[in-house]
């Protein structure tokens, strides 16, 4: 186990800068997920840590040692690749113990570790098979076995589940979590799938265009997104962003006034008289059908939402609704009986709503634009 620290990392390919001042610290035994859309630089970050790419500027520190100049083989990291990268000419057993052989580990220890890992990953029956004779899930397990069999300081996972089908991905997600709990190795996991990020990480780091947008626990990221990108990237379906105007006592959406109740948190900064144009962010999950919402609390209401489409998902149903000129995605439970074409009144918890600056896209609660009133 080791700590991992990225200090002011910059990476340039020619004149193109793909990573801008990345700072990240991962504690011993922590499971951190790097998440972001394709091309945001998350895999590059991982490759810099592994030593597969040179660092243009900054420092990678593993266990308090700067490893910038160390070759990958001397960094004591284990990496699981997106495309498995199994050695096709070696069987499962040889693939798993290859790293141990390179480290000149004694035969007894090698056998013991192989047995343990094969049992953990349920690979005992496939040890003599070649990668070509395995299914996708089995190959992925071998790739993981190759990493965990070694006593590596850090595990790096580069989108390891992206090539698997949905069912297997779900299964392997739990598997990886279970393995991490068992081995407790510091892990950095890269994915573009926000569900993976939410379910697996002790901490999530959201990246966009080579910049870390936000880092925190999954719930922090989910409940307090720092900007519209994080707000819409994390969570499925993604957060609704409505054009609204913010006044000291209410928010105005499509001519409807939504008043703040006394006890709710409210923007405590100067607002122009004509109102501050904002993006009001509400997650689809936080809407309630007025007919089934309990009275009181900090519930706010949006009236006359016209239902365009209903997608039943079993317990839930997803609705596309129209409020004035704006479209919203709403998730309601199965009690709602409204049909397509009906009009519905929706409630939401004002404490769960976010106000985003329309220019900077930043969350006004986290990044207030004007100094708070004295």
């Amino acid at each position: 186990m080791a700590s991992l620290k990225l200090k002011n990392i910059h990476k340039r390919f020619g004149s193109v800068e793909v990573l801008h001042d990345i700072n990240l610290e991962i504690k011993e035994g922590e499971f951190v997920v790097l998440v972001g859309p394709s091309g945001c630089g998350k895999s590059t970050t991982l490759r810099l840590i592994a030593g597969l790419e040179d660092i243009t500027e900054g420092e990678v520190i593993i266990n308090h040692n700067v490893v910038n100049l160390l070759e990958p083989q001397h960094r004591n990291i284990a990496m699981v690749f997106q495309n498995y990268a199994l050695y096709p000419h070696k069987n499962v057993r040889e693939n798993i113990i290859f790293g141990l052989k390179m480290a000149k580990v004694s035969r007894d220890i090698m056998d013991a570790r192989l047995e343990k890992v094969a049992k953990m990953l349920e690979l005992q029956d496939f040890l003599d098979r070649k990668p070509a004779q395995l299914s996708g899930g089995q190959r992925q397990r071998v790739a993981m076995g190759r990493a965990i069999v070694r006593d590596a300081d850090v595990f790096l996972f580069d989108e390891p589940l992206s090539n698997l089908d949905a069912k297997l991905r779900h299964q392997m997600r739990s598997e990886i979590k279970r393995i991490h709990r068992a081995v407790q190795t510091t892990t950095l996991y890269v994915t573009h799938d926000q569900v993976e990020a939410m379910t697996m990480g002790d901490r999530i780091v959201v990246m966009k265009e080579g910049v870390i947008e936000q880092q925190g626990t999954p719930m922090e990221i989910y409940l307090k997104p720092s900007n519209t990108f994080v707000a819409t990237f994390i969570g499925s379906p993604s957060m609704n962003l409505m054009d609204a105007k913010l006044f000291p006592e209410h928010v105005e959406i499509e001519g409807q006034r939504i008043h703040f109740k006394e006890k709710i948190q409210r923007p405590d900064f100067l607002l122009p008289k004509e109102g501050l144009p904002i993006k009001l962010g509400i997650r689809p999950d936080f809407f309630l059908d007025e007919n089934f919402a309990s009275r009181g609390g900090s519930l706010a209401k949006i009236n006359y939402a016209k239902i365009d489409l209903i997608e039943p998902l079993g317990f839930d149903k997803e609705l596309d609704v129209q409020v004035g000129t704006q479209s919203l995605k709403v998730r309601l439970d199965l009690r709602t009986t409204a049909k397509e074409g009906d009009t519905i009144n929706l409630c939401f918890d004002m404490e769960r709503a976010h106000f985003f600056d329309i220019k900077t896209d930043k969350n006004l609660f986290i990044h207030p634009p004007i100094r708070p009133q004295a």
């Binding site: 592994a50 030593g51 597969l52 070759e71 990958p72 083989q73 960094r75 990291i77 284990a78 990496m79 690749f81 997106q82 495309n83 498995y84 990268a85 199994l86 050695y87 096709p88 000419h89 290859f98 790293g99 390179m102 480290a103 070649k130 990668p131 070509a132 004779q133 395995l134 996708g136 190959r139 190759r146 070694r150 790096l156 090539n163």
Partner: protein, 320 residues
């Protein structure tokens, strides 16, 4: 249905293939046929010998007793000399009993084999490192050098022959047999290296780089990754390249003729065959048998390549 041929198209295809095959195979069949015919049968246009004659092969491979050659009267009188020792008499008689000295096939075969294996082995070794560098390492001028390598073939061998021999003479290599052999090996390497680099380089590029990266994170240095991961995966192409270099060296006549002409004991098979054609021992069955035996390793090599090229070793390693 798409791609379905009519009867006529099938017939035409079969005919074309048949004609091409006939033109390719006929010389080989002719060589084989003549090598198995007796002298009286040589004029017979049939490819099947009236009576099978394996004597030429036995002679060349040293399996037969050796043909008896009539001993001239003068030699007989010499042998009657009581002063001659038994060993001396035997030595004189053996010249008339064996034809092995006339065309020592096993010796020429061994010469050619050793020369070809050395040249092919060295060429392959150099090609492995060169092709790896071209396909994996990033350095200035990489693509220019890679593309210009094949320019070596723009200058024909005949044109290079004189300057190369002159160079070899000037540095003192052509003066000795080992120097000449060294020069030949060097020339064969130069002749085969561009294609070897090209073939191996292209093959290395098909091996996913992720495998090397995985090896690096598993604790391999670059060289270890090359030898433990890349080369085992490239075995079919390594064999192909080796066989290609081997065949070029095996069949090469021009440079061997220039460099080894004066060293009879070190003649290669193409050179020896040429000598056999113009010698007083030019007997058709023996010439053809020698040609057939010379061809056999090449044919074996082709069969071997065909078997190996069909195998894909990188399957299953990475998700495409």
């Amino acid at each position: 249905m798409l791609g379905k041929r009519t009867l006529w198209q099938n017939c035409l295809l079969a005919l074309t293939l048949g004609v091409v095959l006939f033109f390719c195979l006929f010389p080989f069949i002719q060589i084989l046929s003549t090598s198995l015919k007796h002298q009286f049968d040589w004029g017979n246009p049939s490819l099947i010998p009236i009576k099978l004659n394996l004597k030429a092969y036995q002679e060349l491979l040293g399996l037969g007793k050796g043909a008896e050659v009539p001993i001239p009267e003068t030699v007989k009188r010499l042998l009657d000399n009581p002063l001659l020792t038994k060993e001396a008499k035997e030595k004189i008689l053996s010249r008339y009993r064996s034809t092995r000295d006339v065309f020592p096939f096993p010796r020429f075969f061994l010469n050619t084999f050793l020369l070809s294996v050395t040249a092919a082995g060295l060429s392959l070794l150099l090609a492995v490192f060169g092709a790896y560098a071209f396909s994996r390492l990033r350095f200035k001028g990489r693509s220019v050098i890679r593309r210009s390598i094949l320019f070596v073939y723009m200058v024909g061998g005949v044109l290079l022959m004189v300057p190369l021999y002159q160079m070899s003479v000037k540095v003192g290599l052509a003066g000795t047999v080992w120097g000449s052999l060294f020069s030949l090996v060097l020339i064969y390497i130069i002749q085969t290296l561009p294609v070897s680099l090209y073939m191996l380089g292209n093959y290395f590029r098909t091996i996913p780089f992720a495998l090397e990266e995985a090896a690096a994170t598993d604790g391999c240095s670059r060289i270890q990754a090359l030898f433990l991961i890349i080369l085992p995966l490239s075995v079919p192409m390594l064999i192909t390249v080796f066989v290609y270099c081997f065949m070029i060296a095996w069949n090469e006549f021009l440079f061997a003729f220039v460099f080894l002409k004066q060293y009879h004991d070190f003649h290669t098979l193409p050179l020896a065959l040429q000598s056999l054609f113009v010698s007083k021992n030019a007997i058709w069955d023996r010439i053809m048998a020698a040609s057939m035996l010379t061809l056999s390793p090449v044919i074996l090599c082709f069969v071997f390549i065909m078997r190996n090229l069909t195998r894909g070793l990188t399957e299953g390693g990475v998700k495409e």
